[in-house]
Symmetry: D2
Subunit: 302 residues, 4 copies
């Protein structure tokens, strides 16, 4: 397969050995640039991801209460976010950790959305919950641990909602694209890919945000690519710098863990930035987007 | 937490920093050696895993036909296997690869079991299929890609069958033990852990079988530890050597991809050994087991 | 140790567990921000690295001939580079690969420098060659494979030249900083750190450029941080995007493999960009630098 | 390249894609099985490594005093070791850690050797020290951090002593074999390879001992393969189990950090076993060796 990368109106092609290696063999049908050369815009309740405008999603790790999610929604909207994130079903490493509010959390998310106009993205972890989550969310998130949960991928592939697919913590680009292919093979072509950090040798950070994925995936697929610097680094102090870098290398959007009081978050406190920091960051991101010929999407149509 | 390792009648204790690190925090309740110091014997249809006898599971990657699975069952039983493996539901990286025969595959497995007396272990990939697979299998396998599929772990935790839990391809020991804890927290204490190779820097092999896991896990938990050198290396020519090593370092069992004609396997041909090689290997394994004070379980009670 | 990160005039502190973990124990003396809070400007023949201006180093992988290095020097200078890179001593994985021109290569570099005014950075691989390389180079490069070659680190620590220290391919940030400490402990405080990609799970790229290193290291040390997107990705088509990202996240400089005819390079052809691409890239980089409050250094004092 | 593995009198061949991949290209001349199908016996002062007898090397991490090294030499010889290990030149991650006794350490090693008859293996870290270390040692060790220090490899390749080459912490098998090729290309064909653990995802252990390397390398090269379970795991409680496994999968020797009082070691205390444990282990190893058709070398000719 020959890959074309567009940079500053120049096109350069390169051979991609991995995807055609004999013995691995699998081909991409729907997800590849060969299948569809123009970029796909994923429509999340009217907010388009994959066009000139860089889309910013923000919100807490977990939905904790009606008041918490509403206040965060108001503050991130004020700063320019257009999509609200927040977990109602939480996949946690230990069975004894907070597992999310479930259906009640979904209701709180929907209420915050109605109040602010922000669209909602939230995770689904069980194929039996897909229908339920579709009632409340504008976009279904598949988390990192479920990137190769094929029953779940097929189920969201049969749903009517766009999907934010997070890269597995140790998945190759090829495996990531084949996970998208599982969803698309069921008829759902509204898939946004999300780089969220990989396990690596770097022992000092919880994960290593792999920004190389952005230009690589943009060359291989027509699907939009989002970056999650919060999970990607596990460290709030690195989020601003890595958000700037993500936009500079071509990301179509960001998803950022944000809370008015990060240290009070039930989960992921160490990687959550404050809504105040988020507002300051948005101004710098607008300048970086401008430098690379993009814009930050700041306004919502009703 | 202080860990005790028994070696040749000597006991040595060591501190295990990771599991008690503040911030990670999660504790093991049911899976830890502190909870239960004596080893647990997992009962797979009467075959006990975790006692003096090392248990050998063998069979093809996928169930392909009634004749294929029966012939393999007869040949591996003849060589000393007591448990038959074979996939009816196959999690595959690409949606366009063979996904298994499903319920029909389960029926073929059960028929081969009835004919030979071998017990059956087979994978379940969807929480909605757990009840179905329990009807046909003596032991439920959770595959590597589903080690953190918590909906599935909880569902098998509520079932009446023992579980063979495979380590995720990039899971730490702690994450592996916490996945077992998910199953046990639902009331099912019949869990056997299976080391099956991790993703590593070694580019030449598909996976790196991590035998360090065997003595480490045996020190941390009372659950039995099985080794899968077939997936663990991805290379049939390494299977014999790594099987010997697994028993030498304390594994309670092996699970080996075996076929009368490996090159004709629909899946995993490169890592499948022939039933002839399997029979020769079993003789060497008996000698190695003897050298470390174990025995190979060779006979089945009816 | 508490780390302070400055972002948009805001200062945030965070705990860095790794560097103070008992048992690992080693402390940084000279390289830490605690030792010296103000950033160090490394002086490469009058070109300062670590100030407001982002410094760009460019040139071929290997010096191949007097004409090749001079032509490249002229073209990259024209586009705005201030430092010329090029290998005379090449550490190669195979003993049968081109090992560099040695002393003659150094002479060609010096001649190109005299002609153009560009400063010269080149690698030294043997402690017995340090004196020789100092005669020809403005800055000594320690390559990735030698990051823990302590005899060599000590020798360049005793020299009178600044050092560009590349991160080992699997080195943690702590090991990287301790390698700088080896040089500084000998009395040489002119050390620039260079992130050049790590070995990772990503099988599709030769290396994974780890931009997280930039804000992390800038928080931990006062030394400037350079990024090498050429080795860092191993893929010319990714170099432009990752160069933009490096500057966006705070790098003090870039080092780029550049050749008038990349496909004719004796070594590293796959990761070398053309001098034409380099010139186009420099214009975009100036805009990105501006967006984050930096400038690209484009002019040389004589 | 087609690789042949011998297992229980059966020969099986397999394709090894990596070594012949176009673009990587490097060929092995001297180190490959194709060049020389019979195994090479490396002669360390009369002790042959690579024959039927498995050779055991033991001793402290660092030589600390004349009395310490002599007492350890006597105790490990008593238990059946034939080669004494101990560091006089120590490559340490921090410049402020104990760097070894240097020449004095070499003298203490030689004295302990004269007293006991044990042969001596010790590390050389600087090409300028090779001649010195050759005066005192029967075998030169190249440490993990120097596996790609090509100046040093060439220098030991020109020496008259056999070389114990340790695998780099993140080196592929191919890079490891090419490092051996560097030594052999200078005329020294007496090279023993040593697997000593790789950096991996397993966060709980300092390194992951990769025993897959043993059968893989034995198939690729005629050189003997030694295993170092002390550095390979970083954990004394795992050393016995991994030593048994190493012999079971075909290792030609072991190198074990051993001290009469491990907790008093200046370096590597956590991975050092006591001379008492060593003696008990040797008895079990003899049984394992016997099970796989080998013997433990226990006696020294004068």
């Amino acid at each position: 397969m020959t890959i074309k990368v567009e940079e500053s109106n120049q096109t350069r092609s390169w051979a991609c050995p991995e995807i055609v290696v004999a013995g691995l063999g699998q081909k991409l049908l729907f997800a590849s640039r060969e299948h569809k050369s123009a970029g796909t815009a994923v429509d999340i309740g009217g907010v388009k991801v994959g066009l000139l405008e860089v889309v910013v999603m923000a919100g807490p790790c977990s939905v904790e209460s009606a008041g918490q999610i509403l206040r965060i929604a108001q503050e991130v909207k004020q700063a320019g976010a257009t999509i609200l994130r927040g977990g109602a079903f939480k996949p946690r490493t230990s069975p004894y950790d907070f597992q999310g509010l479930g259906r009640v959390g979904l209701e709180y998310l929907r209420a915050a959305s109605s109040e602010t106009g922000l669209r909602v993205v939230t995770e689904v972890v069980d194929p039996r919950d897909v229908e339920l989550v579709c009632e409340y969310a504008d976009c279904l998130q598949i988390g990192s641990r479920n990137m190769q949960n094929y029953s779940l991928l097929r189920e969201v592939g049969r749903s009517s909602r766009p999907v934010l697919l997070k890269r597995g913590m140790s998945a190759s680009y090829r495996e990531f694209l084949l996970a998208a292919e599982y969803i698309m093979a069921e008829g759902n072509d509204q898939v946004a890919l999300c780089e969220r950090g990989i396990i690596s040798l770097s022992k000092e950070l919880r994960f290593t945000l792999d920004l190389n994925a952005v230009p690589y995936l943009k060359a291989m697929t027509h699907l939009p690519v989002i970056v999650d610097p919060s999970h990607g680094t596990g460290s709030a102090p690195l989020v601003a710098a890595m958000s700037r870098a993500a936009i500079a290398c071509g990301a179509d959007g960001l998803i950022l863990e944000t809370h008015y009081s990060p240290e009070d978050s039930i989960s992921d406190a160490a990687q959550t930035i404050s809504t105040g920091e988020f507002a300051r960051l948005m101004k710098v991101l607008a300048a970086v987007a401008d430098a690379v010929g993009r814009k930050i999407s700041l306004t919502l149509s009703p």
